[in-house]
Amino acid sequence: MRDFGEFLLVLGLGVVTMVTRSFFFMFKQELPFPTWADRGLRYAPIAALSAVIIPEIVMRHGALITDWRDGRIFGAAAGAAFYFWRRGQGQAVLGTIVVGMAVYLPLHIGLGW
């Protein structure tokens, strides 16, 4: 019976995904929306990305890394550098991934960084 319970729970998790992603447009009801909140949304997308990735790059086991020998820093820096070099020339983001991995994987697998 535990399996059936698990599937019900997974179904519930799917509902959570739908509810959180549709939260403010599930219902027709007009929301009071102050102008400052409206302007603030211009800064939300980049803030969300930064909040997700910066800890993934500069932290390990819940603490800020103190050793610069970490492949992630070099990989991310190389990827970002490539992006700004190739900006506006199509597939710059794809290049960010490829260049970043080309720097990260040898350091990570080869040197254990």
Binding site: R2, D3, E6, F7, L9, V10, G12, L13, G14, V16, T17, M18, T20, R21, S22, F23, F24, F25, M26, K28, W36, A37, R39, G40, R42, Y43, A44, P45, I46, A47, A48, S50, A51, V52, I53, I54, P55, E56, I57, M59, G62, L64, R72, A76, G79, A80, Y83, F84, Q91, A92, V93, L94, G95, T96, I97, V98, G100, M101, Y104, L105
Partner: protein, 243 residues
């Protein structure tokens, strides 16, 4: 939604697919490692498959996996997933202005499959909601195309990860490609001074608040960054975003 001909026959549908395709390797690698991580953490292949197909939210899947394995109470698991997904609530506040012209079932469908990357690309492509029906159709078609390719790629990669979990060691670090995809998209968003400030404040806050449970550091970081940027709008630093 992507199964509606009015969307998938629209030129903006292809445009949305093209944009998400630029980060496809990152999505694949990330989906693959999410599948691997679920199984390696002790979830059965059946439940991992159901999670991939139904939940479709990588970070919350990874957050609740250990709780499922440990048999945590239902409501604790659901509340955890809700908190990890709180950033989507912020996104939905933004998307409301674009989606309200559509019927509810369409909004719910498109909401369900709009993950981080699609939201970011959509608001970059359409900084302001369209006022006419043709523009609104183009928006929905773009978002549907973008989400469709994201969904397919993620599902396939994740299922491959679930079924090949024993052959792919986590120590290879393939998941880092997902982080790099987000680095690239973040760079493409850093087109104004205040947006760069937002990225800096948010990153620092996310690290400083990392000890918070349930990935709430992400929500705190977004709030801090938006607040700082709003305060700076009147300062000389604001540049082009000056009120």
């Amino acid at each position: 939604m992507f199964f509606d001909p009015a969307n998938y026959k629209h030129p903006a549908f292809k445009e949305g697919m093209r944009d998400i395709f630029s980060v496809a390797p990152g999505i694949w690698a990330w989906g693959l490692m999410t599948g691997v991580a679920m199984v390696q953490s002790g979830l059965s292949v059946e439940v991992s498959t159901a999670m991939t197909l139904l939940v479709y939210a990588g970070s919350s899947q990874l957050a609740v996996t250990p709780m499922l394995v440990a048999g945590a109470p239902f409501w604790v698991v659901l509340a955890t997933a809700f908190c990890v997904n709180l950033r989507f609530v912020v996104f939905s506040m933004h998307l409301r202005r674009y989606l309200m012209p559509w019927p509810r079932w369409q909004r719910l469908c498109v909401g369900y499959i709009t993950a981080d990357m699609s939201y970011v690309m959509f608001t970059r492509r359409f900084p302001e909601p369209a006022a006419d029906a043709a523009g609104q159709r183009a928006e929905l078609a773009y978002l549907s195309g973008n989400c469709f390719l994201n969904w397919i790629g993620w599902q396939i990669a994740s299922l491959v990860g679930v079924f090949m979990a024993s052959q792919i060691p986590g120590s290879w670090g393939l998941g880092f490609a997902g982080v790099l995809a987000l680095v690239g998209v973040m760079c493409s968003l850093s087109d104004s001074r205040l947006r760069r400030v937002s990225a800096g404040v948010s990153g620092a806050a996310a690290v400083a608040a990392f000890a918070l449970p349930l990935k709430l550091n992400i929500v705190v970081a977004i709030a801090a960054a938006v607040a700082v940027c709003l305060l700076l709008e009147d300062s000389p630093l604001a540049g082009e975003e000056r009120r």
